[in-house]
Structure formats: C-alpha cells, structure tokens
C-alpha cells in the first residue's frame, strides 16, 4: 500500500492519498491524472486496466485503487 501511495504521489504530490476517500467525487483527480495513474499502474504491477474499470468506485481512494490492482492481478 505504501508503495502504491508513493507511486500516486509521484504523479500528483498535492493530494492527500493517505486519507481522501473522494478523489473523484471532489475532483481531486482529473482525467489527465487518471490516464497517468493507469499507465503507471499497468507498468508497475504488470496489469492492463480496462476502460470499463475507470469508475469513481475504483479511484475514490488509494485503498480502492489498491483493491482494483489486486483483483486485476488475480484475474489476469
């Protein structure tokens, strides 16, 4: 999880990834960030995040992103 938060902070350092649960709902992340995060996660965890997983539920918190990565690693 810490590793993931470091990766996210590398992309956008002014967001409280440790505590925020409204990253999408409060527009703390925009579409530019999402594309960069997906590219970084694909490389780092050797997964392929499909467009159908780009939903607020999967990106509203670092924990949600972590759960999505875990699920995709299991599935792929």
């Amino acid at each position: 999880m810490e590793e993931l938060i470091d990766l996210l902070k590398d992309i956008k350092d002014d967001v409280d990834f440790e505590h925020s649960t409204t990253l999408i709902d409060n527009r703390e992340l925009d579409s530019f960030d999402i594309i960069q995060i997906v590219a970084a996660l694909n490389d780092e965890y050797d997964i392929k995040i499909p467009a159908s997983d780009i939903i607020p539920k999967n990106f509203n918190s670092a924990k949600a992103i972590y759960d999505m990565v875990q699920r995709l690693q299991d599935e792929q």
Partner: protein
Amino acid sequence: MALFSIKFIGFVCITLVVYYALNKKVPGKQWIILLLASLIFYHWTGKFSYIIITALTTWAGALLSLKIGAKYKAIKKDKTIGRAEKKVVKKHILNQRRVVLLAVMLVNFGILGYIKYWSTMWNGLMGFLQMNPGFHFGHLLLPLGISFYTFQSMGYMIDVHNDKYPPERNFFKFLLFVSFFPQLIQGPINRFDALAKQLFEPHPVLFENIRYGMLLFGFGAMKKFAIADLLNPSVAAIMDKGPGDMPGSIMLLGAFLYAIQQYADFSGGIDMVMGAARMFDIQMAPNFRQPYFSTSLGDFWRRWHITLGAWMRDYVFYPFALTDSMLHFGKWAGTHLGKHCGRVLPACVGNLVVFFLVGIWHGPELHFVLWGLYNGIIIALNDLFEPVFKAGLHFLQVNEKSKGYHLFLILLTFFIVNIAGYFDRITDVSKSFHFLVHTFTNFEVSGFGATYHSLVYPHLSDHAILVICLASIIVFINSVLQERKIDTFSRLADIHIAFRWAVYYGVIFLTMASFLIPSGAGGFMYANF
C-alpha cells in the same frame, strides 16, 4: 404529439390514473402500463420498426454475450484445468464476445448511419467528384429519438460485454428501457443500471412526485415557450441573413440570443420530460447543471448535455486514451516534450476525437464537424497552455480565487460558447467564417442602433421582450439557487403560501402570455438529432 398539447397532457393523465390504480391491484406490474403507454406514444409520433430492431438485436446480443461468458465461468472453477489453459480459453471466449458486441454495434450504428448520414455523404461525395450516377438519395425521415435510443442501447450492450451488470432476460422489460416515452424526444441518454430498477419496481402514489413533476414540467414549458420560441424570429432574422454590411455587434447579438434560445429550448424540453417521468416516480439522469455558470469550455461540457458527455467519456474517451499506443504516446511526450505535455497531450488528442464525434452526432454536415472540432481545439489549447496562463496571471498579480476573476472566467466561457454558435446555427460554413471575421474586424458599435431597429425590432416586440426578460429573471434566480446546491423545486413546497403561488402563477402566466405573441417556432431543436 407535441409535449405541450391537450393530447399529451390527457395521455399522461390517463396513464397516471391506470398506473397508480394498478399498483393497488397488482403490485410490481406497473411497468406494463409504462410499456403500453410508450408504444402508443411512439406509434403516434415515430416510425415503429427501427426501435424494435434496436431493442431486439441489443437484447438478444446481450443474452448471447452472457451465454458465451458463462462458459468461461464454468471452466474457471474447474481445478483440473491449468492456469495457462484457462488463459487460452478466456482469450478465445473474449474474442467470441467481441464479435457479438461488434455485430450488434454494426447493425445499430449502421441503421443510424444509413438513415442519418448516408444521403448527405453520398450526395456530397458525388458533388465533390463532379459525378452524376443517375440517381439521387433523398433525405430519409429520421425516426423520433433514434440518436438517443441507439446510444442508450449501445451503452447497455458495452456494459453487459464488460460484465458491469447482468443483462435483462425479459424482452418486454428491455423494450421499455429503450422506449420509455419521456426520453424519446430528446433524451436524456439513460443508463440501464440507474433507470431499469426504477422502471420495474412498485410505485405507490405520492403527492410530492405529482407536485414536483408538474412544477418541473411547467417550468420547462415556460423556458421553451416564453423564452426560446419568442427569441426564434429575431435569431433567424440575424443568422439567416447574409452578412452583407451587417455590423459585427449585431452578429454577436444574434449569437448571444441564440445561446439563450438554445439553452431555453433544450433544457426546457428536458425539464418537461423529467417532470413527466417524475410524475410516474421515475428520476431520469440529469442533463444540465447551470451550464452558463461554467468557468471553462471543459467545465461547460460537464454541465451541458451531461448524458451525451458522460457516454462519450465512458465509451469513447477512456477506451481510446487507454489504448497501448496512446499510453506509449503519453510516455513519449513526457520524455521528449516535458512533464506537462506528457500529462495533458493524450487527453487532448482524446478530446479532439470525442468532439469530432459529438459534432457528427449532431449531423453529417460540415458545419457540425467544425463546431465539434472548435470545441475540442479550444479545450485542448486551454489545457496545453495552462502553465502559460498561470505565469501570466502571476505576472499580473491576479488573485485566481477572487470573485472578480471567477466572474471573468464565466463571461469569457460564455463568449467562447457564443462564438461556437456561428458554426452550430449557421449551416453555410463560408458564412460562419464571414460572421466570425466580421465580428472582430467590423464590430461597428455606431451602426448597432439603426440595424437593430430595421432588422431585429420587427421580430422582437416590446411585449415579447417583457415576457422574455421576466421569464429569464425567474430562470436566472433558480439557476443561482441551484448553483448553491438548493433544490428549489422541493424547497418551494415549504415557503410561504403567498410566495409559492405567486411563483406558480408567474410561470403559468408567462407561458400563457407567450402564446399571444406570434413566434413561428415549431418543435424542439434537439428532436432533430
């Protein structure tokens, strides 16, 4: 059948009585009444066969996709099969499901393309090549709501393909999702997971739903008739006239009036159909969120025609931006052109693709393509040059959080939207550019008064101006309150009875007054799409 007609109001009243009466006798079967009403409505207003083809192919395609997908689920649980073998099977099954998805999309976008685009494209191509094939394709009559229900159905098909939710097994229930009558005229483009549950669950009669629905319907009617329709003749007088020696200031007035007309027409129509649906205790997806309070063109498109924007975001923008080649492009741009370009360029290209398609969605004519690209290019430039703008603001010591700067951004965005109207409202592209150039090179404020009197005034009487202004003030106050997250239509029930009825009578009076003033306007603008 017009939305604001005795026939439609009578139709809704009878359907409401049967709908709520049935809930007492046979709970859970009210959807059958909605389906029958929707089919009757469509029979009266549209061409029946196409919507049945869309519903049938999408319903069957989704079930077939589920059936193929179920094969993998069975294999996945089988512990005797190895991981590598499962991967091969998974890929094979995914390919089969992709074929089903593509086939359904091909049929439905094929029908839409043939009816909406083929004659224009063919005749345009023959004209361009200066060929005469000996026959000519006439324009086909566009079935009511075909762009809306096709997109709604294809969104469902893609969601089922992605296992977002299980498909609907009952064809007649699915047919209701596609043909639910309030959404047929001009959207919104609803999502199955949000709408279907509401359509099929029991609904006891609640006075609040009827009151809220009627108020929303009446408010939408006021926007449509007391603002949009009354502005129609003066907008036409300016925009349909050749530029000639018309001052640029009058052209800009035409674009301004068109922006007001278009918002009042489209959002008014949406309010009316949302109100009609609300009377049946159905809440459709919101399509507007005070778009003229936007602080950038990107923000505007998150507030205007929201359901089309969301459809494009989910089914075009992200699938395109997350392709391997676009992700590689982002990395390449980050390495060679700097961090900022790496961040924004892939999304800029994605936005250009989306707005090209949004333009085409409105029609095959060149002016719609240019209008779409204008939006895409402005948004892309705004994102690309953001560091330059920030540096400029810092240099000028502008406080970005001040109310003055916020207001400046709202006015600037509104101006940019007004200019877009030149390519949207004017169908002749060379004339659009002429208007655009004239606005900036020949603004001629001194000629405004005389041209207004001779060109606009005959089409915009003092009575019309009074009705438009009063209705616009009501719409503006409502928009300000809604921007402050106040649900005005709910809150109105709690305020003093005298004020409440003053608002009700005001809305009714202005709508009725508009009927006494000739406008020459017809149906809804977006019903043509």
